[in-house]
Amino acid sequence: MRTVTANDGRILARIIHLAHRFGCTYTSVAAENLGAQYRMEFAFAGPCDALRRLDAQITKLLDDDRETMA
């Protein structure tokens, strides 16, 4: 289970799409609107290598999200 916060709530959809692209699937997803930000919790299942790559991509998406929000 990984918990993150993001400015753009749509990132969750993007992460789910990425997971399926990598041959993974989600085992649980939860999100909450905190006002200016969204808190998201998710867990994925899939091949170890794909999960590692997914994790790296999620980190990158969150880096971009933090930088862009004005």
């Binding site: 799409h17 980190t59 880096d63 930088e67 862009t68 004005a70």
Partner: protein, 559 residues
């Protein structure tokens, strides 16, 4: 009081934008109305796909963000291939799309498409601007993100009522959040130095990251200091000095045999600003089988160990990483790799070619003559296919911004509009678009753009009356079943060019090539040189998809 559209243009101008590429339509009309008498120049293309490719050509040849504009609905969706292309090749791009007014969004209004959802997976970020106050911060964030870290496309969707709104006196608060700038750590840099010192057969591979980080100069300095053989990916061409005897040429599927063999023999690989694309590695399990250490430097940590395991990873801007590495290497004695370099680089390789061309003009003969005639600072844009690989094998680009090509996505129709963008950015330079007859027919309406804007782009059309690369694969891997690749009914391209008011010539034999090229380069305006080529010439060598260097083919194997 300014309108939203005026704020868009003023903000673009304040960000250094002088030219935008686009095509008007209903929802984006307020922006075009503001463009009517604004200082920012607009290049009207003939299809939105050309707008995004032209912006890409501008960005690739300058390192600065390219800007394209389209209306909502079909205008926006026509940008998508170019947006993905920019994402794959790390091109800083800002796409501005019109959108239906906010009050009807979600009602399936005329020319409504949720372009933010459609492009969500293929942009670094996109945003729907819902109020006039959001315009300036959204654009500034878009430019920052398009150029920061690993560059890429950002889309800003602009509803028509937001563009028509009039600003109030209310001050707009903008917050700037800049991410932490990654820098390769000292232990990793020391590990890279150790890898050099312990290597016996190192190879440096330079990729497109060197282009975007401005690392060409420091890469050449470091390569000279190490004295190891150097190979380049498609997007790394121009980073290494093409005249350097240690330069092995392009690596990968259609790369030089000596480059692929050197990587196969290498015990240490320095992968600098490259992402181990499958066109480079073939079967990753067979890539660099003798390398006990791969040192991977990249701005994007998600690239580390994605395809190939790296023992040492250097996370940071490539130029800064190489400067730091070069400083460290300067302080320690390094092995002498000259005998390995000699082994890897000699004998001078001649690219294999098909022999039987039956008195037709050979595309490769033509390209040899063209590259011999081009000025050193010429910018070459290619389309996608056989001509692209022939050009990549032969081009002697002295800078990565001199060779523009669609690598990751491989988008046909890229060449001519990319050349338009490059010519806009470099009005005094020779800009040549090398295209095939397939790709040219996806973009030839842009002859009108060349004429309209008096852009002296030279189009070299290598016409083999086939979708040549697909045909080649059908010949080699699909039992010569030529399904929908023959184009015997191609039009008279010279007549088409002349109909657009563009000078055009036909060349169909080798004896006439030199004069034809000289005439083309001397022409003051745009020109099409239609080269009627042997239809069945193949690209050699080739490492079949998913194979290794052991499977390299230098000519067709008789059935």
């Amino acid at each position: 009081m300014r309108t939203g559209a005026a704020i868009v243009l003023d903000t673009l101008e304040s960000l250094g934008v002088e030219t935008v590429f686009g095509y008007p339509g209903g929802a984006i009309m307020p922006l075009y109305d503001a463009l009517y008498d604004h200082r920012i120049a607009h290049v009207l293309v003939r299809h939105e796909a050309a707008a995004v490719f032209a912006a890409s050509g501008f960005a690739r040849s300058t390192g600065r963000p390219g800007v394209c504009i389209a209306t909502s609905g079909p205008g926006a969706t026509n940008l998508i291939t170019g947006i993905v292309d920019a994402m794959m090749d790390n091109v800083p791009l800002v796409a501005l799309t019109g959108q239906v007014r906010t009050t009807v969004m979600g009602t399936d209004a005329f020319q409504e498409v949720d372009v933010a959802a459609v492009t969500h997976q293929v942009t670094k970020r996109n945003v729907v601007v819902r109020s006039i106050e959001e315009i300036e911060p959204a654009l500034r964030a878009a430019f920052r993100l398009a150029t920061s870290d690993r560059p890429g496309p950002v889309l800003v969707d602009l509803p028509t009522d937001v563009l028509r709104a009039v600003e109030s006196e209310r001050a707009v608060l903008t917050a700037t959040v800049v991410r932490e700038h990654p820098r390769a750590g000292v232990p990793e840099l020391e590990a890279a130095v150790t890898a050099v010192r312990r290597a016996q057969r190192p190879v440096l591979i330079v990729g497109g990251g060197a282009r975007w980080s401005g690392a060409t100069e420091v890469f050449r300095s470091l390569a000279a200091r190490v004295g190891a053989p150097v190979a380049a990916t498609l997007h790394g061409l121009g980073c290494a000095d093409p005249g350097d005897p240690a330069f092995l040429g392009m690596l990968g599927m259609h790369g030089w045999k000596r480059a692929n063999l050197a990587v196969a023999k290498a015990d240490v690989i320095f992968a600098l600003g490259m992402r181990f694309d499958d066109r480079v590695t073939g079967d990753p399990a067979k890539f660099a089988p003798n390398a006990h250490t791969i040192v991977h430097a990249d701005i994007d940590r998600a690239e580390f160990n994605k395809v190939v395991h790296a023992r040492v990873t250097l996370h940071g801007d490539l130029r800064e990483t190489l400067v730091a590495l070069d400083h460290r290497l300067a302080r320690v004695p390094l092995p002498d790799f000259s005998s390995w370099c000699e082994e890897a680089c000699a004998p001078q390789e001649v690219l294999p070619r098909d022999d039987a061309r039956h008195d037709h003009l050979s595309a490769t003969d033509f390209l040899d003559a063209l590259f011999a005639a081009l000025p050193a600072d010429a910018i070459v844009a290619t389309d996608v296919g056989q001509h692209q690989m022939w050009a990549a094998q032969r081009v002697r680009a002295s800078h990565p911004q001199h060779f523009l090509t669609s690598g990751g996505l491989g988008s046909m129709g890229f060449g001519v509009p990319a050349a338009i963008g490059a010519q806009i950015a470099h009005p005094g330079r020779t800009v040549v678009a090398i295209v095939g007859d397939g790709g040219f027919q996806m973009s030839m309406a842009e002859l009108a753009t060349l004429r309209r804007h008096e852009l002296p782009v030279k189009i070299v059309l290598l016409d083999n009356r086939n979708l040549g690369m697909v045909r080649q694969w059908q010949e080699l891997f699909y039992n010569a079943r030529y399904s929908s690749t023959a184009l015997p009914d191609n039009p008279e391209f010279t007549i088409i060019a002349r109909a657009y008011g563009v000078e055009a010539r036909l060349v169909d034999n080798l004896n006439a090539v030199e004069a034809a090229i000289a005439r083309m380069l001397a022409s003051p305006g745009p020109m099409l040189l239609h080269c009627a080529c042997y239809p069945h010439e193949n690209v050699w060598p080739i490492i079949p998809s998913g194979k290794g260097v052991d499977d390299l083919m230098e000519r067709a194997v008789p059935a």
